[in-house]
């Protein structure tokens, strides 16, 4: 136990104000985001991640958003286990034929009003896999999409920034 406490104190808080080159932006966007989350989502936005056929690289970066360095929870963002509690779906692609039905069901199970972000080059455009007998390509071919975060894979910062930008847009307010 003492070792654990010692390691925790040695490590301290490692959460960073995001990279230098974007710090100015994030300090503004981050603050606006927190305000937006406070105002529109009653202090916390719940995100459901759906892998609709990705190569799993996007998942690695979405997981990294939760690591202590990016610590997305500080903005009031949390990942939920069920679409029924979600405000936002983060969908990676390309959408495979075999995931089409599951993706549509997940979308339908998410209560309105809901937001959908397509993540990664494949989610945004179909990427190198394109459209084929097995792949339906970009996410918006299957469900309505509000925003795209390109990248192969997008970095945790790009993900955070993409989410911030979407929910900071002027949206109808929740009752």
């Amino acid at each position: 136990m003492l070792r654990i406490l010692h390691q925790i104190f040695r490590t301290g808080v490692v959460t960073e104000p995001l990279p230098d080159e974007v710090e100015a932006e994030i300090s503004v966007v981050g603050k606006r985001l927190e305000e937006a989350v406070m105002r529109r989502f009653s202090r916390s936005i719940s995100i459901r991640e759906v892998d609709a056929g990705s190569c799993n690289a996007c998942e690695l970066e979405i997981i990294a958003m939760n690591n202590p360095i990016y610590n997305c929870e500080r903005f009031g963002m949390q990942f939920t286990a069920s679409p029924r509690f979600a405000d936002l779906l983060l969908v990676t692609g390309p959408v495979s034929i075999n995931m089409e039905i599951a993706l549509k069901r997940t979308y339908d199970a998410t209560p309105d009003p809901k937001l959908v972000i397509a993540v990664g080059d494949c989610g945004c455009s179909g990427g190198i896999f394109g459209e084929s007998y097995a792949s339906l390509g970009k996410v918006s071919n299957v469900i309505p999409v509000d925003a795209c975060i390109p990248g192969c894979p997008p970095t945790p910062f790009e993900l955070l920034n993409g989410i911030l930008r979407l929910i900071d847009k002027d949206q109808p307010q929740r009752p």
Binding site: A57, P68, N98, S132, P153
Partner: protein, 525 residues
């Protein structure tokens, strides 16, 4: 000692001909008559070989008919056995009675190529990767199948294995899971808390990768290989490039060869750090997860700083690498690892001395040595069950021939062993990276690859962080790819998971699953 090749040529005499045109490399090939395909399997089994992969090929574009390949391995030897399959009788003798993993390979061949395994009374011909709502006669790997068509959905039902009896119940899970992971479906039959049976159903992330290769130029193929399983982008791109370079006779410069190994070991460390953390987290010890994900992030950032990509995607290209190590790069990596190594040891001491963690990890999810061997498992799954399999050691390519990795084999066969193999591998990879940096040759990092010679094939294996990755690449008649067969370690290790969870309690499934951490995308292709 007799080689597999020698044994088979002795056994078949004139019936076995070296009929596969393979580029010089790590494997040899033999062609045998179709009716003796299963007999060859028995002979290989008698030698103690394992079945590495089995796959079908449409060779009509090369002026032949269909062909069926099986790859066997024993120690450092890989042997490809081929038989021809006529178009008007697309059947082949099943290997399932000899080798357990053959049933999955053969279901896949049947589903995607339309070749029917025969001679096995229990042949499981349910679709695999292809779903029951696809038309039964949709065989994507046949040349007559257009890759860009949209298939109609048909009515169909998947016959699940069922257990029944008083108190027996079923838990369906997925394809959309609770965590941030890939999609797949698991069916548990359970009584009380004990798992009686687990049936996996995969294929949700099938993107038609093998078919896609046939439409891409050989160079673009490296980008696609790097996206077979994103977490193994280095290892997959490297295996593909090895196969491609063997076909073209291209020799990457020594500096590129060293950098490739550097990338491969960095990928190993980063993924193992994440895995050990995730295993501890599934036993509710999130402290280790957060500490190790911090270390993983440090590695990813160094990758980005030095090579321009956090996961080193597209940094391995045919003929070499696309990013060089800057003059101060070696010192940056040494400094990074000098900090990371001791931090890792401190965290692992805590991990190792936590009785609550030990209680969850030890004796959980045991995969017996016999099953690990019979199922043909590879990588840390095999090594945690006493199998001496690491193709960096058995089939080393430079610089591993000069710097052999330490062989890390444990025999407790449980979640703990699978985690601890990773701990030891991180330590060894740190050592290897140091050695690579100390001996990094000067010079260029890229050599142009020539055109593909027509109708040739090549075979390559690389020990990725998950285990042995296998590629078999066949060129077409006009400089393109006729077939690219991929066997991710997950294809065989998924079989191990089904067995390892039996008799465990349902709440320990996530722990078992994390300790295998098989790729869905790498399996589904």
């Amino acid at each position: 000692m007799m080689t597999l090749y020698g044994t088979l040529t002795d056994h078949f005499a004139a019936a076995a001909v070296p009929g596969i045109i393979l580029s010089p490399g790590m494997a040899r090939g033999l062609s045998i008559p179709r009716e003796r395909f299963a007999i060859a399997g028995s002979v290989m089994k008698g030698c103690g070989a394992r079945l590495v992969a089995e796959w079908g090929v449409d060779e009509t574009g090369l002026g032949r008919e269909y062909a069926l390949y099986a790859c066997y391995a024993l120690d450092s030897e890989y042997l490809l056995v081929r038989c021809l399959v006529p178009l008007n009788d697309p059947t082949f003798p099943s290997l399932t009675m000899k080798f357990i993993p053959a049933f999955r390979f053969e279901r896949q061949i049947h589903s995607l190529m339309g070749l029917v395994p025969t001679g096995h009374v229990h042949s499981d011909l349910r679709p695999w990767i292809k779903f029951e709502d696809w038309p039964a006669d949709a065989w994507p790997l046949r040349k007559s199948f257009a890759a860009d068509q949209r298939l109609p959905r048909v009515a169909g039902e998947y016959r699940w294995a069922r257990a029944s009896g008083e108190g027996v119940y079923e838990i369906p899970v997925g394809p959309v899971h609770a965590g941030i992971i890939e999609p797949g479906h698991f069916r548990f039959q359970a009584a009380g808390e004990d798992i009686i049976n687990l049936e996996e159903r995969l294929g949700y992330t099938h993107k038609g990768i093998e078919k896609r290769f046939e439409a891409l130029s050989p160079t673009d193929g490296a980008r696609l290989a790097g996206r077979v399983s994103g977490d193994s982008t280095v290892a997959h791109a490297l295996t593909y490039c090895h196969a491609l370079e063997a076909l073209c006779g291209c020799l990457p410069p020594p500096r590129a060869v060293w950098l490739r190994a550097l990338f491969l070991e960095r990928e190993r460390i980063a993924n193992h750090l994440g895995d050990i953390g995730a295993i501890a987290n599934d036993a509710a010890f999130s402290f280790v997860l957060y500490q190790l994900s911090r270390l993983k992030e440090i590695m990813l950032r160094t990758n980005h700083q030095l090579f321009g990509h956090r996961y080193l995607m597209d940094r391995i290209v045919p003929g070499g690498v696309s990013a060089d190590l800057s003059p101060d790069g070696a010192d940056i990596i040494r400094k990074e690892l000098a900090g990371l190594g001791p931090e890792f040891e401190r965290i692992i001491t805590i991990y190792d001395e936590s009785p609550s963690l030990e209680d969850r990890l030890r004796t959980t999810g045991k995969l017996s040595q016999k099953l690990a061997r019979e199922l043909g498992t590879v990588g840390y799954v095999a090594r945690a069950s006493a199998q001496h399999l690491d193709c960096r050691i058995q089939s080393p390519f430079p610089p591993y021939d000069r710097f052999p990795p330490q062989e890390i084999v444990l025999n407790s066969c449980d979640v703990h062993a699978r985690a601890w193999v990773r701990v030891e591998e991180i330590r060894d990879s740190i050592r290897l990276i140091g050695a690579f940096l100390d001996t990094l040759p000067a010079g260029g990092i890229h050599e142009p690859c020539g055109a593909l010679p027509p109708d040739r094939s090549s075979f390559s294996v690389v020990e990725g962080w998950r285990g042995e990755i296998v590629y078999w690449l066949q060129s077409g008649v006009n400089g393109g790819i006729n077939r690219c067969m991929i066997r991710d370690p997950s294809s065989v290790n998924w079989l191990g998971l089904e067995q390892a969870v039996l008799g465990n309690i349902v709440p320990d499934f996530p722990l078992c699953n994390k300790s295998f951490n098989a790729s869905y995308s790498g399996h589904d292709l």
